[in-house]
């Protein structure tokens, strides 16, 4: 599953995200190609815009 697919499954539609897979930053332009390994630790930080 790619990062892009993970975000779609989680319905994370916010645009300003920080995505780290196993503590390694994944840049936005790589979301569609970066594959998430099985059992990986995935962090999707929503930056606090809004409000």
């Amino acid at each position: 599953m790619t990062v892009d697919r993970v975000l779609k499954v989680m319905n994370y539609t916010f645009r300003m995200l920080v995505v780290k897979v196993n503590d390694k930053l994944v840049k936005r332009e790589d979301y569609k190609s970066a594959v998430v390994p099985e059992d990986a630790d995935v962090k999707v930080i929503h930056l606090v815009a809004g409000g």
Binding site: N11, Y12, T13, F14, R15, M16, L17, V18, L25, K27, R28, K43, V44, I45, H46, L47, V48, A49, G50, G51
Partner: protein, 718 residues
């Protein structure tokens, strides 16, 4: 009557001549005081202590308001003041979002100090005319305007009997009247309210700016807390500030190249990144509508729910079709975020201006959510019409939305009926009825006036006069300290509950917006983490109000490499921009660690201001239960999986076999206890007692152990 005839009916009550002088490193070093009881006008010096401890903007406003009022001054006493102050950075054009002013007064809704951060040109123009703050006290006998003429060095108080009161007419009248010609209109700014502010407590102020390309007068709002109501109670029809024109460096800054460099970097971010990020230039804050709906945070039906299947009808994609694109939509010059969108060519279908084709300022997210989804209204035309009339009548869209949503839920529960509402069927989604409430507010009649008194007064009235269950009303009445909640569902974010109910003025999200950090990212899992966030972010976010800055450029666009920084949620490069700009304007030499103490001094002053007035304690930081969790069976069962899972995994109680009523009670007890623990943790972090009182030691640490503050807190510490 043409404008010349209208102006001919003015009667001059007072003309005050002052010496024009240059600003020095962001400060005029004087403020202007006007008393409408006797038309006294005088200048007051800005002291070194004011600049050191209060900085400007809200800081100056609070200092002047404290000195000018008594602890028991009511909002409609002549002694109440309206103070407008921009701040040392306000008025520069080389960095984005630098034209804001803070307005303070004693609120008709809360009886506390209210503060509003507002755009438009009046604040900078007043500053360029010669004053770091405008302080108005007293009441006029008849409607007056106050004209600050920075071209001549005069302040005039004039009776103005013939002008309109509603902003969309009044703004055009006065801009035309006080500009030398068409080109000069860009140098005039008007502050006004509207007819509804004469009959409702939720009145607000409009601050104008002239749109040169569209050749129209436009408005930003000082919305919260009823300052428009105070304005009209003082019989002020308008304030006008007029300058010769904008030239580079009216602030006489210390290091212009430093500001320009940071401004260019920011402009580049907006050009290259905004479209992929928040789309502020295309849709403004409305970009949040679909996001909040996706995350179950969009208020629907008086904050009962966080999403609705019809929200695509009113989201940013729907609104984008109505916003004119490619226009310079900044509310101050030089702002590259340019996020004030406008829906032009809109024909009004109701009210005294029915049939007129107008331009609607917005809607911003708060308006679309407040008068839209929160009232069950998922129709763009209805939202535009409600937005327009709130603006011209001088009504806060946030309070109107939340108050109307409350009335609608009461109606649907049979607490009020058509006999009480005068025939208005106040079901959710009835836009026609919502509009009629507004028109009634403007006319000063009917149930609209009841809604215009706000949620707190409606709760009291419905319980005392209609026999409603006061506990139910307390649970669903979304107000804290007497001010209506702004438009985010805080149920699943304990941190945001604190961010709303622990505010100084009432639940406005300018202090903290922690929902994603808390609920989505789980970045602040412990009470100590939440307390740290509820210390840093309110202090940082209110720093903007001391300076004359807009918060949006801080984090509604982010540098391309922001994700790679430590603490990306703070947007460190932009924080560094602000430190640089502040030092470059004022000649100071602070670092980023000084921002929070600068703000914390004023924040604690405001807390003690409230204490002085008989508030400002733990009991006043209580929240309605709907801000914390489900009140009704309907709410619980709409999100049953979530709540049952939390009950099992977090509370440690098996939901199986329990009725929804039982589960509601268990959830409620747990969440109420959590909030009390949060209060304890946050107060400790802020240097306050368990009752929320700033300690003398903490005030000493901040350098705010002023005798008048110690005198107020001491009895509460014994």
């Amino acid at each position: 009557m043409n404008h010349a005839d209208i102006k001919a009916k003015h009667k001059l009550l007072k003309e005050y001549a002052y010496e024009l002088s240059e600003i020095e490193k962001g400060y005029n070093n004087r403020t202007l005081y006007i008393n409408l009881d006797d038309n006294a006008v005088k200048e007051k010096p800005v002291t070194a202590e004011m600049k050191e401890k209060f900085i400007g903007g809200k800081g100056f406003g609070l200092r002047l308001l404290w000195d000018g009022t008594r602890p028991d001054t009511r909002w409609d006493d002549p002694d109440n003041e309206i103070v407008i102050s921009p701040g040392p950075i306000a008025g520069i054009t080389q960095y984005s979002g630098c034209g804001k002013s803070l307005v303070v007064s004693i609120s008709p809704m809360t009886d506390l100090v209210i503060d509003c951060n507002v755009g438009g040109y009046f604040g900078p123009f007043m500053k360029f005319s010669g004053f770091d703050a405008l302080e108005i006290q007293g009441k006029a006998d008849k409607d007056v305007i106050i004209v600050i003429d920075g071209t001549k060095g005069t302040v005039r108080i004039e009776e103005a009997p013939e002008e309109a009161v509603d902003t969309h007419i009044l703004g055009e009248q006065l801009t035309d009247m006080y500009a030398e010609d068409e080109k000069d209109k860009r140098n005039v700014s008007v502050v006004s309210s509207g007819e509804a502010a004469e009959h409702a407590l939720i009145g607000m102020l409009n601050f104008s700016f002239y749109d040169v390309k569209r050749k129209q007068v436009r408005f930003k709002q000082a919305g919260r807390g009823g300052i428009g109501t105070v304005f009209r109670d003082k019989r002020i029809k308008a304030l006008i500030a007029k300058i010769k024109g904008i030239v580079p460096d009216l602030n006489k800054v210390v290091d212009m190249p430093a500001i320009q460099e940071r401004g260019k970097n920011f402009a580049k971010e907006m050009r290259e990144l905004d479209d992929q990020q928040s789309r502020m230039k295309r849709v403004g804050t409305a970009h949040l509508i679909e996001i909040m709906d996706d995350y179950d945070l969009l208020p629907v039906h008086n904050f009962k729910f966080g999403s609705h299947e019809d929200s695509p009808n009113i989201d940013s994609h729907a609104l984008e079709k109505r916003f004119t694109q490619g226009m310079p939509d900044g509310c101050w010059l030089g702002c590259m975020m340019s996020c004030c969108k406008m829906a032009e060519g809109f024909e009004l279908t109701t009210g005294p201006y029915k049939g007129e084709v107008v331009s609607v300022e917005g809607p911003e997210y708060e308006t679309a959510a407040g008068v839209g989804s929160n009232c069950g209204i998922f129709n763009v035309d209805a939202i535009l019409e409600l937005n327009f009339y709130c603006d011209t009548y001088g009504v806060d869209t946030i309070s109107f939305g939340t108050a109307t949503a409350f009335a609608m839920e009461c109606y649907e529960n049979g607490i009020i009926d058509e006999d009480i509402t005068g025939g208005l069927k106040l079901n959710f989604s009835n836009a026609e009825a919502a509009l009629e409430l507004l028109h009634q507010m403007a006319r000063g009649e009917g149930f609209g006036v009841v809604v215009g008194s706000g949620v707190r007064k409606m709760k009291k009235k419905f319980a005392e006069e209609y026999g409603a269950d006061p506990q139910f009303l307390q649970d669903i009445g979304m107000e804290n300290k007497g001010l209506e909640y702004s438009q985010y569902v805080s149920k699943e974010s304990l941190a945001q509950q604190g961010g709303y109910a622990m505010t100084n003025k009432g639940p406005q999200h300018d202090e903290a917006w922690l929902i994603f950090m808390d609920m989505v990212n789980n970045q602040i899992p412990t009470f100590e983490d939440k307390a740290e966030a509820l210390h840093y972010f309110p202090m940082f976010r209110t720093w903007f109000g001391l300076m004359g800055l807009c918060k949006l450029p801080w984090n509604d666009v982010e540098p391309a490499d922001n994700a790679e920084q430590d603490e990306p949620e703070k947007v460190p490069e932009h924080v560094d921009n602000y430190v640089t700009v502040y030092n470059a304007v004022t000649g100071s030499n602070i670092d980023k660690f000084e921002l929070v103490p600068q703000s914390e001094r004023v924040y604690n002053f405001q807390r003690i201001f409230n204490l002085r007035r008989g508030y400002g304690k733990r009991e006043h930081d209580a929240q309605p239960f709907r801000a914390a969790g489900p009140v009704t069976v309907e709410e619980y069962e709409s999100r049953q999986d979530r709540y049952d899972q939390q009950m099992k995994e977090v509370i440690g109680v098996d939901p199986v076999g329990k009725s929804t009523e039982e589960k509601l009670a268990i959830t409620r007890k747990y969440r109420e206890e959590l909030y009390e623990k949060l209060l304890d943790a946050v107060y400790e972090r802020r240097g306050w007692t368990k009752d929320g009182i700033p300690t003398i030691e903490h005030l000493q640490d901040l350098g705010m152990d002023l005798p008048e503050l110690v005198e107020v807190v001491k009895p509460h510490l014994e």
